[in-house]
């Protein structure tokens, strides 16, 4: 071996190595809610709103996923346009004049939320509750709610005349379960399982109209599907339709107490990638593991060992 190198640390480079600069995107100017905003070309209306500190509600959107425009909760009014534009995917264009709140926008958001809540059990979708309040959504306008999300009567039987997606929860393995009574078809799970993260392609949207649903191939049970149990679908599900079995069991037993849980970040004990684990602890037992969306290493994703492999610590004796 070369002794000079072997026995002494090499010198530091003269400057800190960094990513080569990319050509800066030209800036786009527009007006949002009467305020002049600037954003780099390619930015969406939602990006520009968030930069400007303007709140736009989203449901099917996630920073780490490709926008699919499924939910229409984020629509905004673009002056001169015939229809409302989804802020999550519509690019900001020079000179656009945008209103994020207007009677038309509010009515549209209210309608979307009412239609969802009239047919879907939103009892474990906490982010939707304030949203429904904000837009005074009343699912009862369309049908007796299955579980309006405003009440905790999630298991109330639907009246016979109500179209709903109510169905038994699918519990077909020990790691996670699927309750499609709670599915709003946001497609986030399909994207996380597919080309936006995991590339396993175990699930996709199947059926049409009211029969549209998320399904494994030929609707087989998970152990017969391509699923590798990374649980990255659970991580992005906004309504609790996908849930770790551990959490589901505790909820069923009435023992799930988020207010009594501590949440601490640590680093995964398994391979050398170094994924951040956010560990949820209740009564000195690990009850859930997630990963922060903003982690440069994971972007919120984990593998089966990271997400579910903590049981050895709960083991006693």
């Amino acid at each position: 071996m070369n002794d000079a190198i072997w026995f002494r640390l090499p010198p530091a480079p003269s400057s800190v190595p960094h990513r080569p600069p990319t050509a800066e995107a030209p800036s786009v100017s527009a007006t949002i809610d009467g305020r002049a905003v600037e954003a780099p070309a390619g930015a969406t209306i939602l990006d520009a709103c968030r930069d400007a500190g303007i709140d736009v509600p989203t449901l099917c959107y996630l920073e780490t996923l490709t926008p699919v425009n499924a939910c229409r909760v984020c629509v905004v009014e673009v002056e001169g346009a015939r229809v409302l534009a989804p802020a999550c995917s519509r690019k900001l264009e020079p000179g656009m004049v945008i209103r994020t709140r207007s009677p038309r926008v509010d009515l549209s958001r209210k309608l979307v939320l009412e239609l969802l809540a009239s047919s879907v059990d939103l009892s474990t979708a906490p982010t939707l509750v304030p949203m429904m309040r904000e837009y005074q959504a009343d699912p009862g306008r369309f049908a007796k709610a299955v579980g309006s999300g405003l009440s905790s009567a999630s298991s109330a039987a639907p009246s016979v005349s109500v179209a709903s997606v109510l169905q038994p929860a699918k519990v077909d393995n020990d790691l996670y379960m699927r309750d499609y009574s709670k599915c709003v078809l946001c497609y986030k799970c399909v994207e996380a399982c597919g080309t936006d993260a995991q590339h396993t392609f175990a699930i996709a949207a199947a059926g049409r109209g009211f029969d549209a649903h998320i399904s494994t191939e030929f609707d087989v049970v998970l152990p017969e599907s391509a699923c590798v149990y990374c649980g990255n679908c659970i991580a992005v599900c906004p309504t609790g339709a996908l849930m770790a079995k551990h959490e589901y069991d505790l909820r069923q037993a009435g023992e799930w107490k988020p207010e009594a849980q501590s949440v601490t970040d640590t680093t995964c004990p398994y391979c050398g990638v170094g994924c951040t684990l956010t560990v949820h602890v209740q009564d000195q037992r690990i009850v859930k593991v997630t990963s922060p969306l903003e982690s440069e290493v994971t972007h919120g994703n984990l593998c089966v060992k990271g997400r579910f492999g903590f049981e050895y610590v709960n083991k006693t004796g």
Binding site: M1, N2, A4, I5, W6, F7, R8, L9, P10, P11, A12, P13, S14, P17, H18, R19, P20, L175, A197, L222, P223, C227, V228, Y229, C230, S262, T264, D265, T266, T267, C268, P269, Y270, C271, G272, V273, G274, T276, L277, V279, Q284, I286, E294, E296, V297, N301, L302, C303, V304, K305, G306, F308, G309, F310, E311, Y312, V313, N314, K315, T316
Partner: protein, 544 residues
Amino acid sequence: MVFGMGGGTSSYQEIEETDCILLWGSNARETHPIFFHHLLKGLKRGARMFAIDPRRTSSAEWADVWAGLDVGTDIPLANAVGREIIAAGLVNHDFVTHATEGFDAYRASVEPWTLERAASVTGVPAAVIRQMAHEYATAKRAMLCWTLGITEHHHAVDNVLALINLALLTGHVGRWGSGINPLRGQNNVQGGGDMGALPDRLPGFQHVENDEVRQKFERVWGATIPPKRGWHLSGMFDAMERGELRAVYVIGENPIQSEADQHRAARLMGGLDFLIVQDLFITDTAELADVVFPAAAGAFESDGTVTSSERRVQRCRRTIDPPGEAREDLAIIFDLARALGHDWGQPDAEAVWNELRSLSPVHAGMSYARLDEHRGLRWPCYDESHPGEAFLHARLWERPIKGPRAPFHPVDHTEPADALSDEYPIRLTTGRRLAEYNTGVQTGAYASPTRRGETLDLSPEDAKHYGIDAGDLVRVVSRRGEVMAPAFIDPALRPGLAFMTFHFPEQVQTNQLTIDATDPRSGTAEFKATAIRIEKAPAAAATT
């Protein structure tokens, strides 16, 4: 270590922005799944990928080209790639002249490795070797990543050097998106080495045989440090054999199940005068111990840091209290020191870390506060205003070069130690599965729906040849031992190649088969190349 610091050169983000990926001896799709997410982003952006692996793994399924080489022929393949790059005039002469030394000797050493000769030795078609050479050399940015398929061989260090030679030849190191990266198999393999858990290093890769370095540590530690390097793990077993090593303190390992040639490992550990084991569970190794210290789980019940494959130092935090009498490693070690007459005060992970920062220049800037703020920092990080280096060895591109040149290391082929023969005609290689980890001490506790237990994985051709069906019990015999395992037919295997894991020692003790032929420089045994024969077990045996 050719470059003076042992670590992957690149950040994960760079594989998203590279143009050509050689994934060599690594099934990262299953063994490093979240790293593979970054790699997939690179493929989506248009990067080309070559998977070099005897098995057509789930990682190889994502590659543009699979180079299915015979086990243990990595050096002939790498040397042929090097020769082709030279012969085709694709050497980055500017970089080679400016930043390396020993090119002429390297060129002479690879000269015999023509495409045809390499094809006959490795089993990889000449056209594939040629294509790999041309694409790697001409890519604007290129990454070489490897795992234990490179390092679990008796010539592990030569394997790594053969790959590094390719990076030097093409200038694919020291730049954004170009680098050489060993993917670490455990959450703190990198950190363990960084912290001096190497026989020849003090923390921060500072050589123990460098007087100046040693004296610096001695001043702070108030103790004399032996001036000569110690033993690697395999060297320790040899020292036990010679009777020179009589007492061992094992922290968080299960060597009698994870070491190659398990019979020997158990005999030597069992024959020690004194054995301390510190672990979460009573492992088989702990069963042999004179004293067992029940330990807290590092990731969930302790405070400290670990370092990842991209050199990122990250915090581990106590999320729950350890059960019963179990305590943090640090507390146990402090108490042990006190019992030996040294009072180190109260155990405090941050204080220990700050002492390390005062001694290791590459960690100096990483305060706990900064690690929290940035979700970890990559070394080297020289001071508290330093952001950490995304990629290493940028100095090689400075004009004039800063510091010493990077040397080529000519290496040549040696066959695996456990030779195939008429009696042992099948090559057994071992590795991991996605949902499992090492000897299953941790993963055994969760209910993985994909767990199928230990199997002997065979190619469809071999299964047919031996009249073995899926699920049949098979007797697997090597020169060191034999085990029984059910057969699993895997079309990812080529004829003559079999695969087992070591995840289920309670079912099948795979490491009774493996050989402890070891590279004296790395201390890693040749888990990847065992010669076996297989026999379908008689039906009667199958019921016992």
